[in-house]
Amino acid sequence: MTDEIKRIDEKPKKGRTVLSDTAATTAAPTAAPEKPDTKAGADNRTKPGSKNGTTGKAKPVSKAKPRGGSGGGAKTEKTEKTEKTAKSAKAAETAKSEKVANAANPKMQEMRKTVLRLAGTLFVITSAVALMLGGVNALTEKRIEQNAEERRIAAMAEVLPGYEAAGESWSDGVSTVTQMTLPEDGSVAWCVSLVSAGFGGDIEMSVAVEQVEGVLVVKKVAIVSHAETMGDPTSEEFLGQYAGHPAGITLGSGENSIDAMTGATVSSEAITLGVNTALEAVQEALALGAFGDNGGSEVQG
């Protein structure tokens, strides 16, 4: 298709250059002011080496015919001659363009074939790769989950050092709450693991919650994994602010607020949301009596 278009585009150009030649010699006064002709003249100058084949010569003259007429009977023998050649050349050209048009169909078919072949090959390759990855994923999925679990336990140890998990964890689908006790004095705290949607991906975090004067407050916050690009969400300077705050923490000013990380508002909001969710989860778990009597009754009382 594109080839055909190109050819059609080229021909009139070649033609014009010839036209200016004939116009200059025959109907110079009338032809000169006409814009296309001056353009053609420019074409001629810029393309001195352009070959004017018989087909090229013919077409333009055929176009020039009406112009010659308007020129007021300025026809000379020369123009008549060129007219004749024009007719024959025009016929030759139409035949040629028909040939091109005919040739386009098999070309199109061929193109369709190659496109299908390329798409097919690429499809087969991508499918094979996808299949292989599916196999590898099936092989590694459990191990990776297990590793994540180990990381979570390590994070628990980080936010509540020295504490030991007491019994089963409770989960509401978002947060996993584990009740922990310190063997030395029997004090109780809760470790909440959850994932919050940050700016650059999921932020996996651990929140230690303790009870001070009957109110659940944050004891410590730790980031297990994150993909944030701005600020340092693991910095103690930021995370340390949460300690001692009850549920409903906000960013900015206010009674129960902390300062956001500069240039990392989305990350700060995500972590704050995570901490609030953790506090609410512990509240809910205790209200439901998920960890037996002692925890639940303490909060309600």
Binding site: T114, T121, L122, L133, T140, I144, N147
Partner: protein, 220 residues
């Protein structure tokens, strides 16, 4: 046709083993991907702060390079020319993702410390360069050997850099203290600046040795 030609070339050079040895010499020394071809600069500078990371990165690249070279070579006559780069990238990305998953499953510590640099192996120019310039033109076994050789060359230069950077920058080797209180670790070496400096000096040293070798040959 191609294989026949190659076979005759091999015979002229003096057999299969010699060609293989030549390939390894190319990969590790003469055409070292990092220090001579200067390919894969990003992981070279980013992961050589510790020997463990450098070894992990080098071996991961070697695994991916060997597999991708082998597969691309096997498919070299089936992949149409127009979509070869796309096909190579898909194949390479497949192997990189597999390596990423395997590392996360079996070596989680290394996976955590290399982080984003494992997925980035997909766009490591060493792999695409070998696929385009070697694997797409040579038989499978040769291409696999080329992958191993080039991968080892990459691993060697990365390890050399990381030894210098870790010992001088952190005073440790594979995490063990080797400064023995004799010198104070220079933190600049584990900074990006130190990476560029180390790379520059290594390339200079290599050029010096190589030019000496060629002078000897000329003298003979």
């Amino acid at each position: 046709m191609v294989t026949q030609k190659e076979k005759t070339v091999e015979k002229k050079r003096g057999g299969w083993l010699r060609t293989t040895a030549g390939q390894f010499a190319d990969g590790i020394w003469r055409q070292n991907p990092t220090l001579v071809l200067l390919l894969g600069m990003c992981p070279t500078l980013a992961t050589t702060t510790t020997v463990q990371n450098a070894l992990g990165m080098g071996l991961s690249v070697t695994a991916v390079l060997t597999c991708s070279n082998l597969v691309i070579s096997l498919l070299r006559k089936l992949i149409p020319n127009q979509i070869r780069i796309a096909s190579y990238i898909v194949i390479v990305a497949g192997f990189v993702t597999a390596v990423d998953l395997l590392l996360a499953a079996f070596v989680p510590a290394l996976s955590a410390s290399l982080g984003i640099f494992i997925p980035l192996i997909v766009v490591n120019c060493i792999i695409l360069a070998r696929a385009e310039s070697f694997a797409s033109k040579n038989p499978p076994l040769r291409s696999a050997i080329d992958g191993v050789a080039m991968g080892l060359g990459f691993t060697c230069s990365l390890t050399a850099m990381s030894v210098i950077r870790e010992v001088l920058g952190s005073g440790t080797f594979l995490g063990y203290d080797v400064s023995f209180g004799v010198f104070e670790p220079m933190a600049i070496f584990i900074m990006p600046v130190g990476g560029f400096l180390t790379l520059g000096f290594l390339i200079a040293a290599m050029q010096k040795i190589m030019s000496r070798g060629s002078k000897k040959k000329e003298a003979e």
